[in-house]
């Protein structure tokens, strides 16, 4: 595969993670996470057999579907759009993470055997995920932040280790995190019939 094609998923990752920071609309957020898992699949399929790499895509999209279904079922109101000052702050944070990812990637590639686009994508996802986690109390966004961080890690870890059991357990964790998010979304203040 030509080297330049690897920058397509990198663009997807950057666009998706910035849109997650920019908007509170859950439909866009879920779409962004779905795009990110497509990018993860793209990178992982270069080092793993395609059948094994597909586990990442299926687990990621299942996680997105579980969250989307849960948001609609719980009838949670759409969060208010963030104020323009908040958006500027988030965007500034996102740009800072991008700069950091691009500058740190060459050094980390010395000890983790992946190509530059995969490394930058991974660092962007981990950084944006952590940024998201540090700025929100909303259960959906916390879950999306965790999924972003985990998916970023999975890109570089796939280059290091190939294992069916590991792929299965990581997929289980991805779906487990999304189920936890869905469960949190479904919690209501009503009394529990213990």
């Amino acid at each position: 595969m030509a080297a330049w094609t690897n920058f397509i998923p990198l663009v997807l990752v950057i666009a998706g993670s910035l849109s997650l920071l920019w908007t509170n609309k859950w439909r866009y957020n879920i779409a962004a996470i779905a795009l990110q898992y497509l990018a993860v699949f793209w990178f992982v399929s270069q080092v793993w057999p395609i059948g094994l790499a597909a586990i990442k895509l299926v687990a990621g999209w299942m996680a997105g579907a579980v969250l989307a279904a849960s948001v609609t079922a719980s009838g949670s109101p759409e969060l208010d759009p963030p104020a323009i000052s908040a958006r500027i702050f988030r965007a500034a944070g996102g740009v800072f993470v991008l700069i950091l990812a691009f500058s740190v990637a060459p050094a980390t590639m010395d000890w983790i055997p992946v190509h530059s686009a995969a490394m930058i994508s991974s660092l962007v996802l981990i950084g944006m995920g952590l940024l998201q986690l540090s700025m929100t109390k909303d259960s959906l966004r916390v879950t999306l932040g965790l999924l972003m961080t985990l998916s970023g890690f999975e890109i570089i870890y796939a280059a290091a280790v190939t294992s069916v059991l590991l792929a299965g357990l990581l997929a289980l964790v991805t779906i487990g995190v999304s189920l936890t998010g869905a469960y949190w979304l479904s919690l209501t203040a009503a009394e529990d019939p213990v």
Binding site: V142, A160, V161, G168, V177, D192
Partner: protein
């Protein structure tokens, strides 16, 4: 049938079965307690890997279960750990009908136990990260049951526990790379840093522990007590397993120095924050941090006596947290606010609960004649020989924690009421009296209780 089938697959299957029986809370809780008790007794009496003669029947229990090219291994050395973990489960499930008879507790609680046992058994060890994460995911419905809004403390718990997964997995991979090229010391350093970071997230080590008191304040104290008793116990044992199996960790003086500094910081901060804390649920959170700090101090000694102290500390730690959580659950169930103001004069109405609270806090603080003191005293003595600064720090933290106990005492007895009543129900009375007596017995006859728990160290022969 192998040992992992008995102590991992069967409890996991029972957890699943109890999910279908969740509408019958007392039955499912009793079943969970019985299963844990049987597994604990089996771990104590059935030798793994040796020929067992049962009447005319003779069999050997294999220690290994292969799964997709990896192995789950529970050997004879792990048996005391199994006794401890399943014994812990049996006690908490047996007390749950009086404290928190929730329908989700037996199934998810057993699931947690099975996942943590699997984490301790899996080879190669890096898979443990994913199994601990599975246990954490099982703990979520227990900590935020339907009807209770999820708070920031619980979210942070989930975040920190999940962030540990990449750190531990990467560390495992780096260790493999480093072992292939032992001359590359930088790889060992990176692996050590990532491993440390992973354990720091898992254990709620300074400065990643702010979720602990926050989570305690948001959840019912009984399930939170269960999770915070079980999870750190299993993770500390996992940490010991890592030090045991990764040669360079055991030889690294820097590692034990860093562990000592972190342990002191945890003891000092937890003790001081507890001294000024007015919310008792948060004090429980600080108690967990305080205990973890002392466990790290015992590890940092890196001597045979240090490892023995580490193992011996499990019983008073778990007993103190159990009595503390049960007493808080009694108050929570009565709708009494878990604050110092809320419990003012409580000794006049709930004397045994008040006594239980006080005994637990003072035992954790290391008050004379109570369970916590013998181990604390020995750790202080050992610390005095290697670092006076650490000793002063640990002493300061202990003083802070004991001060919170004294503060609690003054609030519990401060009342204008002349009349004394005993509003606890009979089962609660029996449990609280038994708990307090055990805390006292541990303190008075430490050797009697500690000798058996030291067998835990059989699982880690490379340590000494």
């Amino acid at each position: 049938m192998s040992s992992p089938v008995i102590w991992i697959i069967i409890p996991a299957a029972m957890g699943l079965l109890l999910w279908f029986l969740r509408s019958r809370q007392p039955l499912s809780l009793i079943l969970a307690a019985i299963v844990c008790f049987i597994l604990s007794v089996l771990a104590a009496v059935v030798p793994i890997g040796e020929v067992v003669n049962l009447g005319g029947l003779s069999f050997t229990l294999p220690s290994t279960l292969p799964v997709l090219g990896r192995r789950f291994v529970l050997t004879a050395g792990d048996q005391m750990i199994l006794v401890l973990l399943y014994g812990l489960g049996a006690v908490w499930f047996a007390l749950a009908p009086m404290a928190w008879p929730h329908r989700l507790f037996p199934s998810f609680g057993l699931g947690m136990l099975a996942a943590l046992t699997a984490a301790l058994a899996v080879e190669p060890f890096l898979y443990a990260a994913l199994l601990v994460e599975t246990a954490v995911l099982f703990s979520i419905p227990i900590l935020s049951p339907p009807g209770r809004q999820v708070g920031q403390g619980l979210q942070r718990y989930m975040i920190f526990q999940t962030l540990a997964v990449p750190a531990i997995l990467f560390a495992g991979w780096l260790l493999g790379v480093a072992e292939a090229n032992p001359a590359d010391t930088a790889m060992f350093q990176r692996a050590g840093i990532l491993l440390g970071l992973g354990f720091a997230f898992w254990l709620g080590v300074f400065p990643f522990y702010n979720w602990l008191p926050m989570m305690m304040a948001e959840t019912h104290p009984f399930p939170a007590g269960y999770v915070l008793s079980l999870l750190p116990t299993a993770i500390l044992l996992l940490g010991l397993d890592f030090i045991n199996s990764i040669g360079f960790l055991g030889d690294s003086a820097t590692l034990f120095y860093v562990v000592r500094i972190i342990g002191v910081l945890m003891v000092v901060t937890a003790g001081l924050w507890a001294a000024f804390q007015v919310n008792l649920a948060r004090v429980f959170g600080y108690a967990v941090i305080f205990e973890t700090g002392f466990a790290l101090l015992a590890i940092s000694l890196n001597t045979l006596s240090g490892w023995m102290l580490f193992a011996a500390a499990f019983l008073p730690r778990l007993m103190g947290l159990l009595v503390f959580a049960f007493a808080l659950a009694v108050l929570e169930n009565q709708g009494i606010p878990l604050t110092l103001e809320g419990i003012r004069g409580l000794a006049h109405r709930y004397p045994l609960t008040a006594f239980g609270l006080l005994a637990a806090v003072l035992s954790i603080g290391g008050f004379p004649l109570l369970a916590g003191l013998p181990v604390r005293l020995e750790i202080f003595e050992q610390l005095a020989t290697i670092s006076r600064t650490s000793l002063i720090g640990a002493g300061l933290g202990t003083a802070g924690f004991l001060f919170s106990g004294m503060h609690l005492l003054s609030e519990l007895i401060h009342s204008d009421e002349q009349e004394w009543r005993m509003l606890e129900n009979w089962p609660a009375r029996v449990i609280l009296i038994s708990g307090c007596l055990l805390l006292l017995a541990f303190g008075l006859f430490p050797k009697t209780f500690f000798q058996s728990i030291l067998f835990i160290l059989q699982a880690f022969p490379q340590l000494f």
